[in-house]
C-alpha cells in the first residue's frame, strides 16, 4: 500500500541549520549535511532543505551545502528558497537535489513552472503555497516572500493552476498554524487536496503524532512536513512513526 510520507525540513541560513537543534552525537549540530543524514537514518521519508537567507551572494554557499548533503542522501531530496529561473533550478539539480520547490517566483511568473517541468519532469517540481485564512468563510489567500506579501490569489485556485502548468506536488503551509505546534490546518489541507490530483504535502503546526494522524485522515494529505518537532533528538522521528502506524495509518516503518 502507498504510505503516507513524513518529511523532515531543514531551514538553512548561510549554510547553517537555524532552528533550535539539539541532536546528540553530532560533531556539529547545525550542519545541514549531518542533520539530513541523521534524519534519513532515523526514518524520514524525504528531506526538504529550505534556504531562508535572502542575500544573493549566499547562493554559492547554498549550492555547496546541497552538494554536501546530497552526497550521502539516498532518499528524495527537495531544495527550495530563492529559486527564480530555470537556470537556478538547473544549478540546484546538478548539485544533487531531486526536486526543487518554488513559491514567489511561480506566483510572479507561473510559466517558470512549465519551463522547469519540461526540462526536468513534473516529478521534480514542487510548488510551495503559503496560505493564510482570510475573511469568515473557508477561504485562504496565497502569500509570497516568506509570508510578507499577499499575492492576491485564492490558494485553492492557485494550486489548481500550478497543477495545470506542470507542478508535480503542492507543499501547502498554513501560515496561521506555522510554528504554533497546535496541529495542521486540516480544513485548508483537505480543501486543496480534494481539488487537485497531484500529491499535497501539509505543513505548519505539527506538534505531535496525533496531528499527523488527523491531517492524513481528515485533511486528506499525502505527506506531512515538519521542522522543529524533529529537532530534539534521534528517537523522535522513529517514535512518531510508531505512533502513527499504531493508529493504522500506512507509513514506511520499520524501514
Amino acid at each position: 500500500m502507498l504510505t503516507k510520507r513524513i518529511i523532515a525540513c531543514l531551514d538553512v541560513d548561510g549554510g547553517r541549520v537555524v532552528k533550535g537543534v539539539q541532536f546528540e552525537n553530532l560533531r556539529d549540530a547545525g550542519d545541514p549535511a549531518e542533520l539530513a543524514k541523521a534524519h534519513s537514518e532515523s526514518g524520514a521519508d524525504e528531506i526538504v532543505l529550505l534556504d531562508i537567507s535572502a542575500a544573493h551572494e549566499r547562493r554559492a554557499t547554498l549550492l555547496e551545502t546541497v552538494r554536501r548533503a546530497a552526497r550521502q542522501l539516498f532518499i528524495p531530496f527537495t531544495v527550495g528558497g530563492g529559486i527564480r529561473t530555470l537556470e537556478d533550478a538547473a544549478a540546484v539539480f546538478s548539485a544533487g537535489a531531486d526536486k526543487i520547490s518554488i513559491n514567489s517566483a511561480a506566483l510572479a511568473d507561473p510559466t517558470v513552472i512549465t519551463r522547469i517541468a519540461e526540462r526536468f519532469g513534473s516529478q521534480a517540481v514542487v510548488v510551495a503555497i503559503d496560505a493564510k485564512r482570510s475573511g469568515r468563510g473557508p477561504h485562504w489567500e496565497a502569500f509570497t516572500h516568506g509570508g510578507r506579501a499577499a499575492a492576491g490569489r485564492d490558494a485553492i485556485a492557485w494550486a489548481q493552476e500550478a497543477e495545470k502548468r506542470g507542478a508535480g506536488e503542492i507543499l501547502l503551509t498554513s501560515m496561521d498554524r506555522d510554528g504554533t505546534g497546535i496541529g495542521f490546518d486540516c480544513e485548508l489541507t483537505r480543501a486543496v487536496a480534494d481539488s487537485v490530483r497531484i500529491p499535497v504535502i501539509a505543513s505548519g503546526g505539527a506538534g505531535g503524532a496525533q496531528h499527523f494522524v488527523e491531517v492524513f485522515r481528515e485533511g486528506h494529505a499525502d505527506a506531512a512536513l515538519a521542522a522543529s518537532i524533529f529537532h530534539y533528538g534521534f528517537s523522535r522521528l522513529a517514535d512518531l512513526k510508531e505512533k502513527i502506524k499504531a493508529q493504522e495509518i500506512p507509513v514506511r516503518w520499520p524501514c
Partner: protein, 196 residues
C-alpha cells in the same frame, strides 16, 4: 565502466551519486560509442515517454540494442524501464525497445495520479537483481504510467491494481521505482546489478 545514458531527459546526478557511493566506475554519457564499450548500461529516465524518441534519433537505441545482444547487463529505471516494452499509452507514436512484451498504461481514475511515494514490493525470490531484498520492502516511486504484470515480472506493486515494479530477463533488468532514492534497499539492488 558503467555507462549512465544521457538523452536529455531529467536529472542523472542521483544515479551517478549512488554508483559513486558504491565505488563503481561510471560516467554519464550521450555517445553511442561509450555505450558500445561499456561494461554495464544504466538507462534512467523521468518525465514523458516521448522524451525517449531522442534515443532513436541519436543512435543510442541501436547502440543499446547491440550491446544487450552482445551480453552487456542493462538496467532501465522508471521511464527507462517503460522504454524496454513495446509502447506506452503516454505517447503512442513513440516506440520502445520492444525487448519485453506489453504496453504501459495509465492508472485508473479511482486513485490519484501520479503515484508518488514509498510503496511495497511483492518479490519473486528467483530475481538476481532483488537478491537479499525481502518482500514488503519499501521503495520510492514517482510515475503516471505503469507496466502490466507479465512473465518477466519479478516484483509487483499494488496501486489501483497490481503492476510490474521490477522486470528481469537474463542480463536485462528494469525497475519502475527509483533504487537510487530508496535508501538502503535501493542501494542493495544497485549493488546486486553491479555484481552481475
Amino acid at each position: 565502466m558503467i555507462a549512465i545514458v544521457d538523452y536529455g531527459a531529467g536529472n542523472l546526478v542521483s544515479v551517478k551519486k549512488a554508483l559513486d557511493w558504491l565505488k563503481q566506475e561510471c560516467a554519464i554519457t550521450s555517445a553511442p560509442a561509450d555505450v558500445a564499450k561499456a561494461s554495464k548500461i544504466v538507462l534512467p529516465g523521468v518525465g514523458h515517454f516521448a522524451t525517449t524518441a531522442a534515443l532513436a534519433h541519436s543512435g543510442l537505441k541501436k547502440a543499446i540494442a547491440e550491446a544487450i545482444e552482445g551480453g552487456t547487463p542493462f538496467l532501465g529505471i522508471c521511464v527507462g524501464m517503460q522504454w524496454m516494452l513495446e509502447h506506452s499509452q503516454e505517447s503512442p507514436d513513440t516506440s520502445g525497445l520492444g525487448l519485453l512484451h506489453g504496453e504501459c498504461e495509465r492508472f485508473p481514475m479511482s486513485v490519484k495520479s501520479p503515484h508518488v511515494g514509498w510503496n511495497q514490493l511483492e518479490v519473486n525470490s528467483s530475481s538476481r537483481l532483488l537478491r537479499g531484498v525481502p518482500s514488503a520492502s519499501f521503495v520510492y516511486f514517482t510515475h503516471s504510467f505503469r507496466a502490466p504484470v507479465t512473465e518477466t515480472t519479478v516484483a509487483c506493486c499494488e496501486y489501483g491494481g497490481r503492476f510490474s515494479a521490477a522486470v528481469e530477463r537474463e542480463h536485462v533488468f528494469g525497475v519502475q521505482f527509483h533504487p537510487e532514492k530508496s535508501g538502503a534497499v535501493g542501494l542493495k539492488m544497485l549493488s546486486n546489478f553491479c555484481e552481475i
